[in-house]
Symmetry: C2
Subunit: 208 residues, 2 copies
């Protein structure tokens, strides 16, 4: 059988097709690279209308990524989807706090969910770059901690997905005066969250 | 802030909402549990029309899962998304061959992609249950190996996603007279592939 076997050729051609089918838009070049990567990940052009990129968000995200940071993710799937070579080239790393023993312990002691305890732990350890692809409760908890003056969040990707609380959690998050990229409505998810992180990194470093 | 904080309550309510909004369909109860879980994972009702479940597919998948097998996945993200407790309750395990050292070696020696080498290795080791959430090339390669009489595949989840080769790879796979579940067209992905595996497992064991 004849089929394209080189992954980079497939990706290049995919982005060309997405460009051809995207239709009219008002994204600038950097924004467009994020939109296209999210569509590439989901094969869903609706994301063109769901993606919200706050004005200063890309600048702030790139500044943080260039400074070599720890990125919080709410799920192992989002963590898996983030390009580790690009991350390493930036001297950044990513952690999914929810799997840590100390987080499980806090959740148990305080009778809260592990995803909420994970946010608290990340905040306690000074994380500034937050990526949510699944858990509305975690995003709500971060908002509370920011409003209580306890969290030093400088950039948020808000992409919880689902039918209960996801859309609302993102609406609430957008009330924060912080640099952020969100997916409005019910859609989003860990692959989308990871795609946004990757698109941001590829604005600075090669895919690796 | 008031929000539902218990993950199982969120999931239960989500499935109710999906049921309410799904509209008319001709799925039986077991099929419906798969459809609903895929929509739960994507917040995308289009999957109702894209999901193809071959007549004997669920029976065969459950028979394999009950016999304690190794599941092949083409990506770490699909692997991450599969419920490890349910898997362990079934004495099954999951492996993403693409990250193995020997697979990287084969790919290098033979000048093929790692995803193709990974399928060959899985086939060589007698894997019977294949899950594709990303790589059309891997699904094509499995089809070739089956047609050459080299692969003992007994069940396939075909959910490669994307704009180049994904839809075609699934059309080709459907020509095989094997039990399979596919996502037609461009959509699919690792979260969808994992959701189908989980839905199948939950037909036998609790979420754990």
């Amino acid at each position: 059988m004849e089929y394209i076997k080189i992954p980079m050729d497939i990706e290049k051609r995919s982005f060309e097709i997405i460009g051809e089918e995207l239709g009219e838009h008002s994204f600038n070049e950097r924004e467009l690279s994020i939109v296209k990567r999210v569509i590439h990940t989901t094969a869903d052009f609706q994301y063109k209308d769901l993606l919200y990129i706050r004005e200063n968000a890309i600048d702030e995200a790139l500044k943080l990524l260039k400074s070599g940071i720890t990125i919080y993710t709410d799920t192992k799937m989002a963590l898996s989807g983030i390009n580790k070579k690009a991350l390493s080239n930036l001297n950044c790393n990513v952690e999914c706090f929810v799997d840590r023993e100390d987080v499980a312990q806090i959740a148990k002691e305080r009778g809260i969910t592990r995803s909420m305890a994970a946010v608290e732990k990340a905040v306690e350890e000074g994380v500034e770059f937050f990526v949510f692809g699944n858990a509305p409760t975690a995003l709500y908890r971060l908002k509370e901690l920011i409003e209580e003056g306890k969290a030093n969040a400088k950039f948020i990707i808000g992409a919880p997905i689902g039918f209960v609380g996801a859309a609302e959690s993102k609406e609430e998050a957008e009330k924060l005066p912080l640099p952020m990229i969100t997916i409005r409505g019910r859609k989003g998810g860990s692959t989308v969250a990871a795609a946004i992180v990757n698109a941001l990194m590829y604005l600075i470093v090669n895919r690796g």
